[in-house]
């Protein structure tokens, strides 16, 4: 959502796969958002707040840059 949404890529799908095919619902529970928000993030339709981004990274135990990559100018 928002004009800058396409500027941030993420590897959530791959990280979920590496985490034993963690479901979107499980990730949503751990992060504290709805499953629809995880779906929107994976599809690049929503850029989360910094806090949620850190929580996602913490769930997978990786640095923030490994989950989200800024590819804007």
């Amino acid at each position: 959502m928002g004009k800058g949404q396409a500027q941030i890529d993420n590897t959530i799908r791959a990280l979920r796969f590496n985490a034993g095919e963690m479901t979107q619902a499980e990730l949503a529970d751990k992060v504290g958002v709805t499953r629809q928000t995880i779906v929107a993030m994976e599809q690049g339709r929503y850029s989360p707040s910094l806090e949620v981004a850190f929580r996602v990274a913490r769930v997978f135990g990786v640095p923030l840059e490994e989950v989200f990559q800024y590819r804007g100018e």
Partner: protein
């Protein structure tokens, strides 16, 4: 299903053969239309008590509707129905005094609230059955709040412009009845823009 012992005088009477008699009955059991219907009703009624039952996860992502999306869709439908009812009343049973117009519009607001509740209950049940999963409202997260804020902003903008238009109409010499109907229209439009915006933001992003 044939799980009881064979009735007296029917089938073999020796104990050893009775087992085979039962197996034969079980194997020959063919579900008929009534059985299919009973099974169908059982699944529909018992849907929420049986988590292993196939859930909405079997549906494509775009086909699954969340409670918040359904709420927005119902608000759009009931808002349009209310507007249609007011239009229809205005054409078939026109009133000329301001007080009657105001009462009619108040009835319309009450009508909208009631059908919104009723349709929401019915739609929740129907969508739950179709999606094979109880449709429940989840706690709003930051995305829900952002979407609600942006939708509210859009509706606020529409109502502001509409309110200004009504004042301009009054200044231009339009009568109070026209102004009352216009004011109601502004509220309807504002009430529609909010859920339409929510649906668009949820679905498209």
């Amino acid at each position: 299903m044939a799980t009881t012992s064979a009735p007296q005088g029917v089938g073999p009477t020796e104990p050893g053969l009775q087992v085979n008699w039962h197996l034969t009955l079980v194997e020959s059991y063919k579900p008929d239309a009534v059985s299919y219907f009973c099974d169908f009703v059982y699944k529909k009624v018992d849907i929420w008590q049986r988590p292993p039952y196939p859930s909405s996860r079997g549906l494509k992502e775009g086909m699954v509707m969340t409670y918040k999306e359904l709420n927005a869709a119902v608000m759009i439908a009931t808002g349009m129905a209310t507007a249609a009812w007011v239009l229809w009343q205005g054409r078939t049973n026109p009133v000329t005094d301001l007080e009657s117009v105001a009462w009619r519009l108040l009835y319309a607001v009450g009508f909208n609230i009631i059908i919104n509740i009723v349709v929401m209950i019915v739609a929740t049940i129907v969508v739950s059955i179709v999606q094979r999963e109880e449709l429940k409202d989840e706690r709003a997260d930051e995305r829900d709040r952002a979407i609600a804020d942006k939708s509210m902003r859009n509706a606020y903008f529409a109502v502001s412009v509409g309110g200004l238009t009504v004042i301009i109409m009054l200044a231009a010499g339009f009568g109070p009845i026209a102004a009352a109907y216009s004011l109601f229209s502004v509220l309807v439009v504002g009430g529609l823009i909010d859920p339409i915006s929510r649906l668009v933001y949820y679905r498209i992003g």
